[in-house]
Amino acid sequence: MSINESPPLSTGALRVQRMPRWYTGRSELIVVAGVLALATVLLYGTVTMEVREEDVFPGPQFFPALVVVFLYAAAIALAIEVWRSPQRAHVGDDPVEMSDEMLRDLGRIDETSEIRVVSPEDYAATTTDSGSPARSGSDRKTVLITIGAFAGFIVILPVVGWLISAAALFWVIAWAFGSTRPLMDIAIAAIMSSSVQLAFGAGLGLSLPGGFLAGVL
């Protein structure tokens, strides 16, 4: 009896099977570079640290030195791993943060008798079955808009105050995440930001910035 109309089980996907991404292959070396850069910054910080003379071993530089060595070792190990199997698929680190292979062994998952569990990220795969081609890769536009929305919020918060900036943040993110009713969203955003102001500002006594409305309210 076929239990599920979801994609074939032979993919070995226990849960989230990620689509091949733009980084498929060796672009993961970016992470290695990032870790090496971090280790180098820490190394510089450790060496140039101004330590008082009376601080004997193990002083404030001791633990950072261990971490620096640890980070360099981890970066090299990761580089070797990426180098040896560049095409390794990233199976299911999300929503769970567990080793897929380990869980598969523990649960005696044999890829034929389990239904394929669908993660939110996987909804994409189900829609592609009905015709529209799958666009692989990450939606960089939405991510950049979201980062921009956060940055914009942080910039305007001290100037225009919580009410307006929080409503704007809510509205922009709802729109960027695919809301189709921008006018209705304005109302929801305003309710959201003002109820937070009332509940946490008036209720719990957090001081939220008033901005130019501070004098009016």
Binding site: R21, P60, G107, V196
Partner: protein, 514 residues
């Protein structure tokens, strides 16, 4: 039976109207974040932590604990009805649970899941209360070397199990250490990695790190796929009674017990939370079903396949609370958040907590029992109502999370710079998710890192630099030996799978990875 008297005293405190209110709020919030896929109890605690500063700590911890338990109650609902588990801890329940739902037994599956969660949670809480005197006695034998061994155990164990390869876990761990070292060194007053900037003298607040990684990172990650994904699949409407019949009770009771037996020990060791025991419980039920020749398992859906993993999942929460309060080690991301909460209130969980803060610990333990009853009451008959949460448009959900995250960040110290730091950490969190680097080790390293450093330096200062002091007591030797076992198993595991994958590649049948 000293502890029973203390527990009864705890019930008196837990029964005050204010604490009951926090308990109910926590239970509702926890179930809600459990039901909603993509939201977890760790994120909920991270978002609530800064806005609960003004509360009394007992109330706040009662709320956090009931969020933790609530998350494990709610997560199976969307798994059973929608085939989309609310959290990773419900994946094992979903296999058989969704099959039962498709077979028209959705209500029964939901009922079994709720009762199983209650059963597992209650037994493990009883065990924690029973074992508490032994934990308190441990306090007397714990010195710096033992604390350091415990922290190392937590660091390496979590890195070994959470990632596809142990290297990825270690990279995340290193990142967490780096974040935790910024600021003025507590022991000597030396500025470390502040770049001379006074805003970093106090270090990066743990709330900035957690909200950035768990909330902002997740919002960015969801943003990277949400516009390309379709809506959720068809939801099964549950009908009929959620209560098992007498015959079914006889089937599920042993499964509950087996699940609890897996959950309790795994809750107390840092292996990332409920996933390992739920899968172990599922595997056991599967093997037993095969042995008895059960035709339902793997076809119509077997009620034991729901009962076992669900009891295992909640059993971990009880013993995780025990490990958290008694030993001060976080065994899951949510437990790590609760350690951060204790630190915010100036308390260090560990063997001394029962002595020093008994007025907090016992009401907290008592409220776990009350919370389980409340959760059973709001989940058993109303699972279908909770499923209605799934119709909330996801864009509003994540817009709301963004606003609450910003509120929390600002609430820490009313500093704009905290918001910028959290945004930067959020971007790092997003990159980590894209590259399959686990986030949990960062949290554990950032929270336990400073403690590990202090204890290590104390131990070495006492021994005048002789590292053999770290291995000088039976407790440390046992901990390091246990750790070696975990690492060996994990490395062998990965090596075996890599070998299998290579063979598969060679014969050209790519069955394992695609």
């Amino acid at each position: 039976m000293d502890q029973l008297a203390l527990l009864l005293g705890g019930f008196e405190v837990a029964f005050t109207p204010q604490n009951l209110l926090f308990l109910v709020i926590g239970a509702i919030l926890g179930t809600a974040v459990g039901v909603l896929p993509g939201l977890g109890s760790a994120m909920a605690v991270a978002l609530l932590l800064p806005v609960t500063f003004s509360l009394d700590p007992t109330g706040a911890f009662i709320m956090f604990a009931s969020i933790y338990f609530g998350g494990l109650f709610g997560d199976s609902t969307s798994g059973i009805l929608l085939n989309t588990p609310g959290n990773s801890s419900a994946i094992a329940t979903t296999f058989e649970g969704h099959r039962m739902a498709k077979d028209g037994r959705a209500a029964k599956a939901l009922g079994t899941a709720a009762i199983g969660a209650f059963f597992g949670g209650t037994i493990s809480c009883v065990l924690v209360v029973f074992f508490s005197p032994f934990i308190v006695r441990l306090a007397t034998v714990f010195g710096p070397a033992e604390y350091f061994a415990l922290a190392v155990f937590a660091f390496v164990a979590i890195s070994a199990v959470v990632a596809d390869s142990i290297v990825r876990g270690l990279v995340s761990l290193g990142l967490g250490f780096a974040l935790a070292m910024v600021g003025i060194d507590g022991m000597t007053g030396t500025e470390r990695f502040t770049g001379g900037s006074p805003v970093l003298f106090d270090g990066i607040s743990i709330i900035v790190i957690t909200v950035g990684l768990l909330a902002l990172g997740e919002v960015l990650h969801v943003g990277s796929y949400i516009r390309r994904s379709g809506g959720p699949g068809a939801m099964v409407t549950p009908t009929g009674s959620p209560l098992p019949s007498a015959r079914e009770w006889r089937m599920i009771l042993p499964a509950f017990l087996r699940g609890t037996a897996f959950g309790v020990p795994f809750g107390a060791i840092p292996v990332g939370g409920a996933e390992v025991p739920t899968f172990l419980a599922y595997g056991t039920e599967k093997r037993l079903a095969r042995r008895r020749g059960d035709p339902d398992f793997g076809t119509r859906g077997s009620i034991q396949g729901v009962a076992g993993p669900e009891a295992a999942g909640n059993a971990t929460a009880g013993s995780a609370m025990g490990a958290l309060l008694g030993l001060g080690i976080p065994t899951s991301a949510t437990a790590a958040m609760m350690i951060a909460a204790f630190q915010q209130y100036g308390m260090q969980p560990g063997p001394l907590l029962f002595e020093r803060s008994g007025d907090l610990v016992w009401p907290l333990l008592a409220s776990l029992f009350l919370g389980l009853v409340i959760l059973l009451v709001i989940n058993l008959p109303f699972a279908a109502v909770w499923a209605k949460l799934l119709v909330i448009p996801r864009h509003y959900l994540y817009a709301g999370i963004s606003v609450v995250a910003m509120l929390g960040l600002y609430a820490i110290a009313s500093r704009i710079v905290d918001l910028w730091l959290a945004l930067a950490i959020g971007i790092v969190g997003f990159v980590m998710r894209r590259f399959s680097l686990p986030v949990a080790p960062v949290l554990i390293a950032a929270i336990l890192g400073p403690l590990a450093e202090t204890q290590l330096r104390r131990a070495l200062a006492v021994s005048e630099g002789d590292p053999s002091v770290l291995l000088s007591s039976p407790i440390t030797i046992v901990l390091y030996a246990l750790l070696a076992v975990i690492v060996t198993v994990s490395v062998l595991q990965h090596a075996r799978h890599t070998a299998k994958r290579r063979t598969a590649d060679r014969v050209g049948v790519d069955t394992l990875v695609k």
